[in-house]
Symmetry: C2
Subunit: 233 residues, 2 copies
């Protein structure tokens, strides 16, 4: 089981808060992949539902479910248009997925999560912040960095620390946590992949500077995330 | 199961790093209590050992083991004088325990953890930092705050961000993460307990200021922790 910090933090919050009056029914947005975080909720006795836009990752999650004989109910769906009725879940969360939307779509997605959440229910979402390093890609809008992945353009959104507050109307923020990780020996991309990623249409770096940037990753890598847990009022 | 962020982060690091050559044998320092974190390692197939100074907390952990039919091997022991031979564990960690030692004893404890750790093995430890709030008690040495708990004087140590580095000689730091939690609706102590805690021998606050401090907790509470994962060279 892969223990994502944001999912552990949410579960720990719920275990310590008094939420026994709420039905244990949870939705994860961006739920698929080889190690679906919903499995942790399943283990704790929750009725789980998940949506994901990627058929490939849904296939991986279903293989996990077969292998471990668990039923997580992960279906295809976009968090900007959640395929569930209003107010059916007590708990809604995402982990490392919201950051793949533009800021405008982030607002749409949080509104959708709020719609399917019951009054008194809890939402957990995370935002990457601008003190992360490196920020690569073409910054088409403030904090929105675009890169190429295969055939597609992919965005990652980064926020100022006080910026995500705008998304929490009609929600009481009950927990706010900033995590800044400095990895010294693990760089998530190989040197070769890093160099192949270079494309002068979307970076201000020259090819030489880009190659050197990889060597600096080990020393300067920094990933900052702001996590909010909020209750629907 | 209670998912402590530092334990989840350590397990996640080990799952993503290549440590399959190491025997899955782990020691936790400060391992007892109602929800022993070692249970997570047990679930992942580790041979687990734990030490704790508190008979009461060891009793709680043993009740957990009986109830869940798991064998975690938690015995009485002090992390400043670990009751195990040199280099017998591949993994050693603590979570929210080291902070209960003076800074001098913190150095002794980390040295002991390093002693029982095999070469190439991994250590995970955490330090509370001085940007936490409130810092209560008598500051007898820089960053060492003493309060009374029952019959005993209890210390909590808080560090500057660049201070813990001194403890990591003969160790390669492979992960460093700072977590700053701002709790808005949960204060861990009741108003009554807070007021009863007041004792003018160890705080510079007047009784009135102390009472007011409780009301401010909700708005200003902040707990910052620096976690290091290091490999023994």
């Amino acid at each position: 089981m892969l223990l994502r910090p944001s999912v552990c933090t949410f579960l720990q919050y719920l275990q310590q808060a008094n939420v026994t009056h709420l039905e244990k029914k949870v939705l994860e947005c961006g739920a698929a992949g080889r190690y679906p975080p919903l499995a942790l909720f399943y283990e704790e006795g929750y009725e789980t539902y998940g949506i994901d836009v990627s058929d490939y990752r849904i296939g991986l999650a279903r293989a996990f479910c077969r292998e471990h004989d668990v039923s997580l109910n992960i279906i295809k769906g976009d968090m900007r248009d959640i395929p569930f009725d209003d107010e059916v879940f007590s708990f809604v969360y995402e982990s490392d997925s919201l950051c793949r939307l533009t800021k405008k779509d982030t607002g749409v997605a949080v509104k959708e999560m709020k719609r399917v959440l019951r009054r008194g229910g809890y939402l957990s979402v995370g935002f990457m912040t601008l003190d992360s390093w490196p920020l690569t890609g073409e910054e088409r809008n403030p904090g929105e960095f675009w890169t190429h992945s295969g055939e597609r353009d992919v965005v990652h959104s980064f926020f100022e620390d006080d910026e995500p507050g705008q998304y929490f109307t009609d929600l009481d923020i009950v927990w706010e946590e900033k995590r800044t990780a400095v990895r010294r020996d693990t760089v998530t991309v190989s040197r070769e992949d890093w160099i192949n990623q270079y494309n002068d249409t979307w970076t201000r770096y020259s090819k030489d500077e880009w190659v050197k940037l990889y060597d600096e990753c080990k020393a300067h890598f920094r990933l900052s995330v702001l996590q909010y847990i909020a209750r629907k009022t």
